[in-house]
Symmetry: C2
DNA sequence: TAGTGGTCTAGACCACTGA
DNA sequence: CAGTGGTCTAGACCACTAG
């Protein structure tokens, strides 16, 4: 810690990273939320770089939730990420009360092999699949597919006709009559598939946070949910409160 | 629903997304973990696209944790993401037992304003900062900065000299003598800064999962941690088990 | 229709790794 | 040193939005 610190730049920072920093500071000082930036061609010219390089910087800032870009419209300053509660202790089962999820559809279907394996069902066996959508602050933030083995909701076989929201609600209702167990969540980074992207109002390939939740009763998995959250607009909170805002300082991570 | 579904492709899929799918299938069928792919110039030629386009596809696959690229070396098939337990109920305080974190250093420092605000300290007030590193399966997976207000560990002022791992351990030991409260976690997407990147063996700008943890006793924040996890190699698990593997099927999210 | 961001190209050079 | 991925350029065209 007693070393001289003058110009320890053996690696001249890449242009796009420097640009990112410059733009980031400009966002803090000269722009306000929702404001629209100059277009990419002009920004590139203004900074004396190729458009591709400028776009690399913008990509970073979008990844960090500071910018929002929409084709045909422009680049705007994004509001701070919204805190989205995941796995709050209240909803022991999915679909409890008014938890922010809206049931869209439901149908029996054969799940992906990996899902079948964790559910403990046969790989060719159909399970109830429920599609839900989550909206927060007027914006769609997540799309979910919920897999429920038939054995988890035995009384449900009678309902076959009304594929749609009604059926989805029926599955959720049936789940909520069961004895609750505990939940296990996992979060990882992914990219939005075409259908998810459409539902989240993003382009395919956009970064998403994939939350897989396992509802466990005894030693078996009673239900499995795979939810994809918009990574640009969401901060997922676990354990308690849903909208305590931490850390949206000048830069994304900690400052030295 | 009942609509004909033949060639509903009003938007011909971008090349790089199609490429991503093709490569993804190739990874599933023709390559095994750790295997090295042909170099980018050859792949681009083989698929008849520009190198930049090929790289867009590779970026996606890297984002999904399917590939690992290292400059000067090549592109290899990544192993499945490792499950990393975050906020397991066991460690009520950070630094308990052998929790996978290695203390690196500690010093008093003025934290970023946003951190000071959640800690409830003055913006110019110095707090204990502890840097830790987390290793899993021999690879560094996370870098952390832990902020501990002086008032949380009053008996510690005596220790001033030995900046380094010893001091870090002292702060953690002091914390662990306190009455435990509860934890609040939040996860969001970010990009690695220069120092984090170096510690995680990634390039600056690489996508990371930023986990902020608040330790709350009563109504005040006793400690705050900002940890950046490698997004490419990690799957963060909450609540329980640390290495149950779910869903690493042909594609990242759910399949239809 | 004009203007935006998204995709794509064909090249060049650089930084890094390992033999 | 040769070979790899990372950065950067200067263009072109496309898909989309909104007036």
């Amino acid at each position: 810690m007693g070393t001289t610190q003058l110009a320890p730049v053996p690696v001249p920072e890449p242009k796009y990273l420097h640009l990112r920093t410059v733009l980031s500071q400009a966002l803090d000082s000269e722009f306000s939320v929702g404001e629209i930036l100059p277009n990419e061609r002009e920004l590139a010219a203004r900074f004396g770089v190729a458009r591709a390089t400028l776009r690399q910087a913008l990509e970073q800032l979008e990844l960090e939730g500071r910018l929002q870009r929409r084709r045909g419209v422009g680049t705007t300053v994004a509001p701070p990420r919204v805190g989205v509660a995941v796995g709050a202790p209240g909803d022991a089962w999915p679909g409890a009360a008014d938890d922010g999820w809206e049931p869209l559809d439901s149908a029996p279907a054969v799940p992906p092999a990996s899902v079948a394996d964790t559910l403990g069902t046969d790989r060719e066996e159909a399970v109830h699949t429920v599609r839900r959508s989550r909206v927060s602050h007027g914006q769609p933030v997540a799309a979910e597919v919920l897999y429920v083995p038939r054995t988890s909701v035995p009384g449900l076989s009678a309902i076959d006709a009304p594929t749609g929201p009604a059926r989805a609600r029926a599955v959720l209702r049936a789940l909520n009559t069961l004895e609750p167990g505990h939940r296990e969540n996992a979060v990882e980074l992914g990219s939005a598939h075409v259908d998810d992207a459409r539902e989240l109002d993003r382009l395919p390939g956009a970064p998403v946070l994939i939350v897989t939740t396992r509802w466990v009763t005894g030693d078996r998995t009673a239900a499995l949910s795979v939810a994809t959250y918009r990574a640009d607009t969401c901060r997922l909170t676990f354990g308690e409160a849903g909208d305590v805002r931490i850390h949206h300082g000048p830069t994304a991570s900690h400052a030295s």
